[in-house]
Symmetry: D2
Subunit: 308 residues, 4 copies
């Protein structure tokens, strides 16, 4: 399946790589963030995938009939690992626990290290050897770090950027069974997908997840424009939520939480204060990433908490 | 049981209200953050509990034999609601989604509103009427918003402050079955407890949880000093974690995550980079509060992720 | 002179509006941020210049012979007001002392107001009537809020954005006699200029300066690439400095201050710690804006502080 | 003169070291932040002045007749260096350009270094040798880094803390000729002074100024309570300003700028929007420190900008 769609490194500015019908179920191959070129622990991340040629995106996928202002409901149906291994790194001047270009210091930069994680039998977990001790094992929790549309107002952004257009959100909830709602900023919507993660802790603090290629099955529904729709919305079987992207995290939470309060008010007829009260007593805040150009946070509540 | 311990409004500077033996199981009454005086929706929060006479603390409880530098393991055994209702408010100049004294703006302040939440039959949830629509219902999730010791270096802090001494952390994991580890800064340790919450969403974004009185059963074990122990640690049946307090949230996460990386390295013999990798691929970040003088975050991992 | 160059609303993605020789002195007309359409106190800013059609840029101006990687020395020679009035506004959901889209709250948005400032005789100050009292008067301090080049890596950004490519910096030092150094990211460099300010306090806290059109005389020198050149540098008769752009301000200062320390070390042969010591004892930090998508800070030291 | 007043390491909790009359001119000796014990470049800062025994404060000085709620006008009349040298350091885990306990990372900590600065003939500048090159020279710009009163609400804070009670502000404007206004939180006011700086760049980015002892002449006037007085106010011959303390810097600016807007409105009768407009077009923002438990910012405007 690899090769049907090419890879690009920006959001915006492209002709569609394919066009789908609203609701059509289709499958795409997504490469890992190192373009599949970081294959062993002696590899050099910044040589095999030099910035900004990182985080290759599959797409853009146009949706037939979508016009700017419509809402896209992107349903992630199945994420099938395309390889039996994933890769993770720690690099100088990157990650939450290091100075970075946006947050520099004068200390000596941290060293670089690469881990190759391989699936365990049964594929419910992954294991990696370590240099300093016993191997590590974590559960398989597949999701797409990056899922977005062409940005508003004619901007063109790098594939590592998250924002109101979605993008490099790194929210672990973006796995099988989840729907991400994004507003189309251009006709066709132009959906980009990539940055598969076999597992990731909240915040992606070291700078990468367990990065892996996927064959991903999804559909994109065209929905009518909706007043008050602004930042990305997410829905699972049990929860609804809003995603905010900003620095510092505090502001990302403000975007997500106030967005959810307004959405709940609109859905339920509650006034803002009662909706605020409800969200405040039962919301979950999930920090997606703390390492991208903007940080991302999901604020969600259980659907069953919504008054009938 | 009410009245055995008096209430105080600071951390530090008090003679003990009682002294317990290491490991002794005992029960305390804790008042709600409004001193039990906000009992109906027409009440005025800032008149019945004028700042800084909010967040009354039970204690301090001294632990026999503890000297400064020892570690206290505070085990929360049972939190029994002392009333059949709790109270929540939204107030001017307070909360994440409002300007505050530390983050002011020139907009008109939001209005004040009070909600009385009452237990549903079976006491697994609470319900409140609203002014604008149907009632709200959320699950009962009891915990103590405030649990701390006398601060280091002779400081005396208000009861609303969180920090390395614990305090007003508002981490929802601080419920039955959880152990909070704090370093004693003074002989006896001087443990303060209060701010019972019947339920609270992450971040306590509106400024209060469902505030309620508890009869709480706990024990405090004296443990030996431990090299590298700095910020509060938390343990449940399944997880271990570190709590950081700072503004902005980013820095609270840095404290919690780097603290957990160092703790994992120390426990497992992994070097810092391998420990960093493990935490990064499986940690949970939970934002406790975004409304106190410092914000609080818990970074935790499953115990089963620790290599043997 | 108006009309020789058209106006654009992005950095990047354009053919040059004109090409100049290195060192050539030339004059451009720059429109105010409201496209010259907000001319009286009853005007509606967001109707006359609806987002993102704000902050029109003159250019891009290509420099003959410049290739990507070269350094551009943009010398601001003279800023001649093109009108006898400027305009300033306060708007809902904008400014440091208001919730914004990136920092939202649930309070009622502030009202909108427009001030028309006119030059006093002698043109050393400007005066505006007020609605609530006596008129206001401030000194004339002309500068360009916006001066940048095409961004790196193929990004296209809105004209309101500041960054390592310069852009909407709003640093009041960018007036007559100042040189701004920027690295060319594309051949020709592609310089954009606009957003004339007749006066502005540090931080542009209300969201606008006294916005005015200019006929501006400048030159652009092509300099060789320079190792270690990263963020914009600024030079006046007496000072050198580095500009950082980030949120929160803390990080913008980190970029600017560490950039200046490294630059001083490189120029003087001092090691990083001695250069750090020098900068720390005599630097000035100037906050340009606190209202754009990134905040900007200049860290500068007197040239005479540089050891011979 | 040394020894008339003892030194303390906290704000709050002390009996007065002396009592003065309102308006009385008196002189105090203030020790440097290392208690005068760091006297050469081979000294070990954290051994000679181990935390929290740093930043010794002279005082507290009670003012006769002052009651809680009164305003104190602390006039700095003359700052006479008590020695011919000052000292500055860079230390591990401290400073804006390093990870710190509140902002940790996993990089190797920076090294420690000490500089001894000595007055040049004429005492208008100071010079220090360097390890890596020629000596450094900066102008003599004397001020007190620390000037505060007993905190509100019974808190006791370390001498390194700034806040609404003043404290470790590190605002370079706090030199000869400046008046700092603080609200008395307790009867007598209880003024603490120390942390003399012979020079300091904005932000005190390396973590220390050129630290030096002073014999300082000052007076403290008792003024009536004033509605709307909240954060510290500063007045010089030419400017008035408000100081905010918070993290991140953005919030410190919000406190200072909104405080000044409200003060200007109250003084001039302008409404908030007109006062906001005035401040926005002519304010200066000065960052005092970026290294203390809270960061500090002064927002000031020229007195001549105030409409008559």
């Amino acid at each position: 399946m690899q090769g049907q769609d090419g890879f690009v490194f920006h959001f915006g500015g492209h002709a569609p790589s394919r066009t789908v019908r609203s609701g059509e179920v289709f499958t795409v191959f997504t490469e890992d963030c190192f373009c599949g070129k970081l294959t062993d622990v002696d590899g050099r991340p910044r040589e095999v995938a030099p910035y900004p040629k990182v985080n290759p995106l599959t797409g853009p996928i146009a949706v037939d009939g979508v016009v700017a202002g419509d809402i896209l409901a992107i349903r992630l149906i199945a994420l099938e690992p395309a390889r039996d291994w994933g890769v993770a790194t720690i690099s100088p001047d990157f990650g939450l626990l290091s100075g970075t270009r946006a947050n520099p210091n004068l200390q000596r930069p941290q060293d670089e290290r690469v881990w190759i994680w391989t699936f365990d039998p049964g594929r419910t977990s992954l294991t990696t050897p370590t240099r300093s001790g016993p191997p590590l094992q974590v559960p398989f929790r597949p999701f797409h770090g990056t899922l977005g549309v062409a940005p508003a107002h004619g901007e063109v952004r790098l594939g590592v950027v998250p924002g109101d257009f979605g993008g490099n959100l790194d929210i672990p909830d973006l796995g099988p069974g989840t729907t991400l709602y994004l507003r189309a900023n251009v006709d066709g919507g132009q959906v980009y997908i990539g940055d598969g993660h076999y597992a990731q802790g909240d915040g992606e603090i070291s700078g990468t997840a367990i990065e892996g290629a996927f064959n991903t099955t999804l559909s994109i529904d065209r929905l009518a424009p909706e007043e008050g729709f602004d930042w990305p919305r997410l829905e699972t079987a049990s929860h609804i939520g809003v995603i905010g992207c900003a620095r510092p995290v505090d502001d990302a939470v403000r975007i997500a939480a106030s967005g959810l309060v307004r959405w709940v008010a609109r859905r339920t007829g509650l006034d803002l204060m009662d909706a605020h009260q409800l969200v405040s007593q039962c919301c979950k805040l999930r920090i997606g990433n703390l390492v991208n150009p903007s940080f991302s946070v999901l604020c969600s509540i259980p659907k069953r908490a919504l008054p009938a």
